[in-house]
């Protein structure tokens, strides 16, 4: 994965960058499968490797396939990235070890969900019951986000001009 990221940083041809991003998504999905998060892996593979690659290619087709040389100095962004990276790594020091039975995620609401969700909802897949029932508001919010994104694209790129022109033609 780090090789892919380095390649993405170096390459200026955006087609190659999109393809490498897709490969990165597939590898991320594989990691999720190894971590037993099959639902997330599914989403990552379908959205990250599939749809967003196609949409990115569509964007490239609309714009250009060469990345411009940055016109300003690279020092300040580099410092910012390093600082953020150090802060994030420092943050991981406080995280519980993977699979630690005493971690807050295993002792807080997790056991309740695992015990109650299949009984109360009658649905064996706990992920689905949490997403759609326990966290119904959040999922509704996500759907509204997708809805807004779709409306935004239609408003920005939908050919209103074309429709207007056609109406004028009709009037004439």
């Amino acid at each position: 994965m780090s090789i892919t990221v380095c390649a993405i940083l170096r390459i200026r041809n955006l087609y190659a960058v999109v393809m490498l991003g897709s490969i990165f998504s597939v590898m991320a999905a594989a990691i999720f499968v190894i971590l037993d998060a099959v639902d997330v892996a599914f989403t990552e593979a379908a959205v990250g490797a599939g749809i967003s690659t196609v949409l990115a290619l569509g964007t490239i087709a609309l714009t250009t396939d060469r990345e411009k040389k940055p016109s300003h100095t690279k020092i300040l962004p580099l410092i910012m990235v390093c600082l953020t990276g150090v802060a994030l790594i420092y943050g991981t020091l406080d995280l519980a070890h993977y699979g630690d039975p005493n971690a807050p995620v295993q002792t807080h609401v997790g056991p309740d969900y695992l015990r109650d969700a299949p009984v109360k909802t009658g649905i064996p897949n706990v992920v689905t019951s949490i997403l759609a029932s326990y966290r119904g508001y959040d999922t509704l919010g996500e759907v509204v986000v997708i809805f807004t994104a779709g409306i935004g694209v239609i408003l920005l790129l939908g050919n209103w001009r074309h429709i207007g022109r056609r109406r004028e033609d009709k009037d004439v």
Binding site: I51, L55, I123, T128, A132, G150, I151, V153, N159, H162
Partner: protein, 151 residues
């Protein structure tokens, strides 16, 4: 794209399986991995494949823009409508327990409808975004050519 015989045949063979897999992911999300979001993306991928191989005009004939616009709103309304229905029959918003005779049935029905709403919106938005991109490119190309070919 019309001349690539292999691509067209393979795409035609794949289409029913993609749709079937989408339906499986949509309605089997209760039992295995999957759900409305993933199923929506799979459906959209199927339609985008169709549009890539058979051209935008044929794909638009399969899924006209009016239906897509309708679907974008319908999914969100279905999701929110389930919540409002719960309010009307005396529960809390998005509290599916009151939707059927007993709580477990209610939960099952509620989750099924909600996931269906998610699936419809995700499919419509993804296909719509792709169609809009592709059509925008066509119109741009037309303008550069100086003609305005009707889409």
């Amino acid at each position: 794209m019309y001349s690539y015989l292999v691509l067209r045949v393979v795409a035609k063979l794949l289409m029913p399986f993609i749709m079937l897999f989408g339906l499986y992911v949509q309605f089997h999300g209760d039992f295995g991995p999957g759900g409305g979001f993933q199923a929506g993306v799979i459906f959209a991928a199927g339609f985008i494949l169709y549009a890539l191989i058979f051209g935008l005009q044929n794909a638009s004939r399969v899924l006209p823009r009016g239906i897509l616009r309708f679907g974008i709103a319908l999914g969100v309304l279905l999701y929110a409508g389930v919540g409002v229905y719960n309010l009307l029959v005396g529960g809390k918003y998005l509290d599916y327990n009151v939707m059927a005779q007993n709580a477990v049935h209610g939960q099952h029905l509620g989750i099924l409808l909600v996931e269906l709403g998610v699936g419809i919106t995700v499919t419509s938005v993804m296909v719509m975004v792709f169609f809009t991109f592709a059509r925008h490119r066509q119109t741009k190309g037309d303008d550069q050519d100086g003609g305005s070919r009707p889409l």
